[in-house]
């Protein structure tokens, strides 16, 4: 089997497994997995900028929230139907990530982290400032009757899982194709050696900007889908914590791998789920995982697996 064939089989296998799980999982884990799949889209979006493009942003919650509020506010205040609202969310994330990328990518490394962090913080505070419309920290609920897309009721648990799976599968395949395309290859080249890539005649700044916009827009799609599927839009999704979570997921699963974001989200979700049964200070676990990862396993789960046993992993 060729490497491309293997990775295609892997994609198909993961999606097939998730379809099978739909029928066998008990209700609680079924609901969890639906959430994990949507959050994994966010992680994949983040991974495209960080894992493939080498651009470490600490402000992706801004794009996640842009998608979520673009969807939620148009539904809440303009009474848009779900389909149009999702498009509004995508557009909002696209516009915000284009603007932030245009400005922030003038910097790199540590300064990029701080600039994106500051933009995201300003976005979070803006959500609080316009509390009249966004209802600030409290957030607002999207009514069950409005969560209908093309005649399908998305508040139903079964359709919600399948909708999440459909979107996750689409993003998963899209990302796998994208990173194997010539665009993805150039992006990895920029990550490895920006100067050399520039010398080879590639317009480095343009590639990075486009990658950043794709990353932000996919994150926004995840935000819009999360708000619609689970019926809640709130300021906590714009907070610093939601910028750090995708970093945690991607580092745990393996930066620069296609499967890593999903694996990392899955592990972290259950790690926090289980530990919050024992203590209210479950974030300490997240902190400890971050420190241990940077110390002992920089490649993450999938990254280590690729290095040791499965060199063909995409």
């Amino acid at each position: 089997m060729t490497e491309a064939g293997k990775s295609l089989a892997l994609n198909a296998g993961v999606i097939a497994l998730l379809i099978v799980l739909h029928f066998v999982l008990p209700a609680y884990h079924h609901g969890n997995l639906a959430r994990i799949m949507v959050l994994a889209i966010y992680a994949m979006g983040f991974n495209f900028a960080f894992g493939y493009g080498g651009m470490l942003s600490l402000g992706h919650a801004l794009f996640f929230a842009a998608g979520m509020y673009g969807m939620g506010l148009t539904m809440q205040h303009l009474d848009w139907p779900a389909g149009a609202a999702i498009v509004a969310g995508l557009l909002a994330a696209f516009v915000v990530s284009t603007a932030v990328g245009f400005l922030a990518l003038r910097t790199a490394g540590v300064q990029l982290m701080i600039v994106t962090l500051m933009f995201a913080q300003a976005g979070f505070l803006t959500v609080l400032y316009f509390g009249e419309w966004t209802r600030g920290d409290e957030g607002f609920v999207i009514q069950q009757s409005e969560r209908v897309l093309a005649g399908v009721d998305l508040s139903n648990e079964s359709t919600r899982y399948l909708a999440g799976l459909l979107l996750f599968g689409a993003c998963f395949v899209f990302m796998s194709r994208l990173v194997q395309s010539s665009f993805g290859k150039v992006l990895v080249a920029i990550r490895e050696n920006e100067e050399r890539t520039r010398m080879l005649g590639y317009d480095v700044a343009r590639y990075k900007l486009v990658a950043f916009i794709i990353s932000g827009t996919v994150s926004g799609l995840a935000g819009a889908a999360y708000g619609l599927l689970f019926g809640y839009v709130g300021a906590s999704f714009a907070s610093v914590q939601y910028s750090i979570l995708p970093l945690l997921w991607v580092l745990l699963g393996g930066a620069g791998t296609v499967l890593g974001p999903f694996i990392g989200t899955l592990f972290m979700f259950y790690l926090i789920d289980i530990s919050s049964g024992f203590t209210s200070a479950y974030l300490a676990i997240a902190g400890a995982v971050l420190v241990l990862l940077t110390l002992f396993a920089r490649q993450g789960i999938v990254g280590e697996a690729r290095q040791r046993w499965l060199p063909w992993l995409p």
Binding site: I114, M118, L125
Partner: protein, 308 residues
């Protein structure tokens, strides 16, 4: 009250904020200057200082003033020691790689914050100030008999607030003397200027790094101990000082101590004043955007000079 006394009052509050901010931010700036890493857990060292100050001041059953003085010594030393342990256990093993250090200090932030939540709890607790007389201030007024001094109602400050401002000034002068006059300061500045060359001249760069990290954290703890009689100690109190210190350090020019102090005064005063006249949320939005734009268009900071 007229506008004039109101403005003076606002700037007095601003000066207290600025003093505490200057100490905290100088700690962050020192760490960045010497070690070239950004310490995201700096706000948690601030919080830890406040919490430990409460622990020391309440657990030692002596006069509150003596308890406070003890806290002023013990809390920064303990926090500095914790920071040094974190440096040796984690940062040193990462070889101070800038990006990995940020991720690891985010982890430290969560660990410190949540362990505090588990042990100290979610309540906000005050520390009693050693002295807290109310000082009414006079205000010159033109009246029928020429210039007279009036005593507008509610116009005044407390002796403790003035003490905070004075203490911060003294501490900053001490730090400046330490950096410019002592062997320790010389070694730190040498490491900041050229790590390799310092190593070649037999300076234990590892020890200098651990020490700088410890001093940086201790300064944050010291600032927190000073402010804790005015604000209460709470496990989430580290977020605002962290953000403001970031702003100050960036505006002042990364790694430049005089620039940091100047920016702290600017930001602390204007933050206090803007918050009094406008919505504090709007003030924060504007200041975070300002930082982002300064970093994008003038990465060396408003006061810094461009490095080669």
């Amino acid at each position: 009250m007229d506008f004039g006394p109101y403005l003076v009052l606002a700037s007095l509050e601003g000066a207290v904020q600025a003093s505490v901010l200057a100490l905290t931010a100088v700690g962050l700036s020192l760490v960045f200057g010497v070690m070239r890493v950004v310490n995201v857990a700096h706000g948690e060292f601030f919080m830890l200082g406040a919490v430990l100050a409460w622990v020391v001041a309440t657990s030692i059953g002596v006069h509150p003033a003596l308890g406070f003085v003890l806290a002023l010594v013990i809390a920064p030393v303990l926090v500095g020691a914790i920071a040094i342990i974190a440096d040796v256990l984690v940062l040193k093993r990462l070889n101070y790689d800038p990006e990995n250090t940020i991720v690891a200090t985010i982890g430290l932030l969560y660990i410190i914050q949540q362990v505090t939540l588990m042990t100290y709890g979610p309540d906000a607790r005050p520390v009693e100030a050693p002295f807290n007389q109310r000082l009414a201030l006079p205000w010159p007024e033109w009246g029928e008999g020429g210039l007279t001094l009036g005593w507008p109602w509610g116009f005044g400050t407390t002796s403790y607030k003035l003490f905070v401002i004075a203490a911060a000034i003294v501490l900053l002068i001490v730090l400046w003397q330490l950096m410019s006059r002592t062997k320790l300061g010389l070694v730190m500045r040498a490491t900041q200027l050229d790590r390799e060359m310092a190593l070649a001249f037999g300076i234990h760069v590892d020890r200098v790094y651990a020490f700088a990290f410890g001093i940086g954290a201790a300064l944050a703890a010291l600032a927190a101990t000073l402010i804790v009689p005015i604000q209460q100690a709470h496990y989430l109190m580290g977020a605002d000082p962290l953000l403001l210190s970031f702003i100050v350090v960036i505006i002042g020019g990364l790694g430049s101590l005089p620039g940091t102090v100047a920016a702290a005064v600017l930001i602390g005063m204007s933050d206090g004043m803007i918050s009094m006249f406008f919505s504090p949320t709007l003030a924060k939005i504007l200041s975070t955007l300002l930082v982002a734009f300064v970093l994008v268009f003038r990465p060396q900071g408003l006061f810094g000079t461009r490095r080669a």
